[in-house]
């Protein structure tokens, strides 16, 4: 219907004996072959591999939600598949981690830095920061490690970094369980108030932030592969800049440093989480506003930036 083929004698002189002679002559003189013309219409055929408009893209992503979930679940368990204890490691590992910090900072070094309930402070900081680190560093590698899937199936590529975040969330569930267990069991008892109910909201904002960063770095590393080497260093600096092990009061004499640290979204996450869980206070409005701006901003920027590069990931 739309594709009809008609022979096109290229540039033939009008006073020619027979078309066959001419095409032969043409081929002789110009070393060109006879050509046929095929006309196709974009009404029925669509360009393959083209980046869809953002709305369709989001719709396609939503359509793949089962795939994202299945992939994340499969990957979570595949890490511990060959161990004897299997999935139990997902719970044991964070508990052992927390106990190690208790051993070093609580018993051996005894550095409390004037922080009330230092162990809780430390454990919240370490565990929550670990989630962001995991999202950013595996998100940055997600295109590289998902190459098999990219070459095998057509799907919105944002599925890969998003599935990394989902996997980290699945990992976070037992980690948070261990965190609560340790906070309750280890010394310095805390009083639980309604403020603790705000903790899930903090987590949601942190997930937004981590998703945005995962998407952002997933594309950046396909442009500059060297970034994967830098990310681990950058994450370590960020860890120290987020007051995970120490109190921000240490820098009280340097208002500029304090200002910088307080503008840091991960500091806001940790600060808000500690306020909710340890100190029975509702976080400041300024923390909420700053954190929401960072999180939603990171998610929007990361998503749009990743979507713009949609056509480039096949070559990674």
């Amino acid at each position: 219907m739309h594709a009809m083929s008609a022979p096109v004698p290229p540039l033939q002189p009008t006073s020619s004996p027979t078309p066959a002679d001419v095409s032969d002559l043409y081929a002789e003189v110009f070393k060109k072959q006879p050509a046929s013309l095929e006309i196709v219409s974009t009404g029925r055929l669509k360009q393959v591999g083209a980046r869809p408009p953002i709305r369709d893209y989001i719709r396609q992503l939503w359509g793949r939600r089962y795939f994202l979930w299945a992939e994340a679940r499969a990957k979570v368990t595949s890490g511990t598949r060959e161990t004897l204890l299997g999935q139990a490691w997902l719970v044991i590992n964070p508990i052992l981690n927390g106990l190690a910090y208790y051993l070093i900072f609580g018993l051996i070094l005894d550095t409390r830095d004037g922080i009330p309930n230092f162990l809780g402070y430390l454990i919240i900081g370490v565990f929550l920061f670990q989630f962001t680190t995991q999202c950013v560093s595996s998100g940055a590698k997600s295109i590289q490690s998902g190459r098999n899937l990219i070459r095998a199936f057509t799907f919105p590529r944002a599925s890969l970094p998003i599935s990394v975040v989902l996997r980290s969330i699945l990992n976070l569930v037992p980690t948070i369980g261990a965190m609560f267990l340790l906070i309750v069991l280890l010394p310095d008892h805390e009083t639980w108030t309604m403020a603790a109910l705000l903790f899930p909201v903090v987590l949601v904002l942190q997930v937004f932030l981590a998703t945005g960063l995962a998407l952002l770095f997933a594309r950046l590393t396909t442009i500059v592969p060297d970034l994967t080497q830098l990310i681990s260093v950058a994450m370590r600096i960020w860890l120290y800049a987020s007051a995970v092990f120490f109190s921000i009061d240490r820098f009280a004499e340097y208002p500029s440093i304090v200002g910088l640290m307080e503008a840091n979204p991960m500091y806001m996450v940790l600060d808000a989480a500690r306020d909710c869980l340890l100190y029975a206070t509702v976080p400041d409005a300024s923390t909420w506003i700053g954190l929401s701006t960072w999180s939603v901003g990171a998610l929007l920027v990361g998503f749009l930036f990743f979507w713009q590069g949609e056509e480039s990931y096949g070559r990674a």
Partner: protein, 312 residues
């Protein structure tokens, strides 16, 4: 087989328009290292341990239109651009120039798509179906059929990394056809299967073509192409040598390959030049469709056609 070629009602399913693909890849060629670069660049390369990048033209100026019901074989020596062409048609990579249009999303079965090696074959089936956009219910319904087509017995419950290349290829083929794709691209996937599987897979492909689908098949064995395809495309160094009925193209390719194998370069060149000269070049013109109208009178031609008439 030939009857598909003349079917006037066959609809175009894939249109490849003047596609060019180029890669910049590092080369350890010593000549390349000496060439072109100044002292500073060469020193920097030595310090960083980088090899100079060379431009590889994987495909240049490929144009053709595939119709429904066709099974198109791609022939050519290793590195002639067959697999690249399939990846481009599948939309997994984008060409440097030109474009590819397709009626529906093409499904590619590649040689090196290992899916998720840690998961069992069964889990990979489910995951693959979901990746192609099936709902969990549809995926669950498709699993038994895929298992049967793959015919791996109890091995389907073992991790995919323990599979032999033939087993992996069978599973991938079975997964890819689960969604009943209209356009199926097969990259050497069936070469490793045994006779029983080959028969099953051919029946499956025939079924897809009967449903007005199009199958692309890459194979080094010209005989396979001759036996199963309706049309063949011969690629050499990223250029289209010949596009025509499978028997004719495959026969010429075999003669050429034989001449190359027997170290008769002159004879090989004659064959390829003759094929080049006799080739009918295809120009694909893409007509942007107007906003869909409720009713289009039969005698009212879209203006796009008229403008191309004028060009003639």
């Amino acid at each position: 087989m030939g009857e598909h070629d003349v079917d006037p009602f066959a609809q175009a399913t894939v249109a490849v328009q003047n596609v060019h693909v180029r890669y910049r890849v590092p080369s350890t060629d010593a000549a390349e290292r000496r060439r072109g670069a100044n002292f500073v660049k060469r020193a920097a390369r030595t310090v960083l341990g980088n090899d100079p990048k060379v431009l590889v033209r994987a495909l240049s100026g490929i144009s053709f239109v595939a119709k429904s019901g066709e099974q198109i074989g791609l022939v050519g020596q290793n590195g002639s651009g067959k697999s690249t062409l399939l990846r481009i048609i599948a939309g997994l990579e984008n060409p440097a120039k030109g474009r590819v249009l397709a009626e529906s999303t093409p499904v590619l079965i590649g040689v090196n798509a290992a899916l998720v090696p840690d998961l069992s074959g069964e889990q990979n089936i489910r995951l693959g179906c979901l990746a192609m956009g099936l709902t969990p219910d549809q995926a669950d319904a498709a699993v038994p059929e895929v298992k049967q087509l793959a015919g791996l017995g109890k091995s389907i419950y073992l991790p995919m990394k323990t599979y032999s290349s033939g087993m992996g290829a069978r599973l991938r083929f079975a997964i890819a056809t689960a969604a009943n794709p209209h356009i199926l691209l097969i990259d050497e996937a069936l070469a490793t299967g045994d006779a029983a599987f080959r028969e099953r897979s051919e029946a499956r492909m025939q079924g897809l073509r009967d449903g007005a689908g199009t199958v692309f098949l890459v194979s080094h064995a010209a005989q396979t192409i001759e036996e199963t395809c309706t049309r063949a495309i011969w690629l050499n160094h990223g250029r289209l040598v010949l596009d025509g009925p499978a028997q004719d193209v495959a026969l010429r390719y075999r003669k050429w390959a034989w001449a190359v194998a027997k170290d008769k370069p002159d004879e090989a060149r004659t064959i390829i030049e003759k094929a080049f000269a006799e080739r009918e070049q295809t120009h694909v013109q893409v007509e942007e469709s107007q906003a869909p109208r409720q009713y289009n009178a039969r005698h009212v031609r879209p203006s796009g056609v008229r403008s191309t008439d004028r060009k003639k």
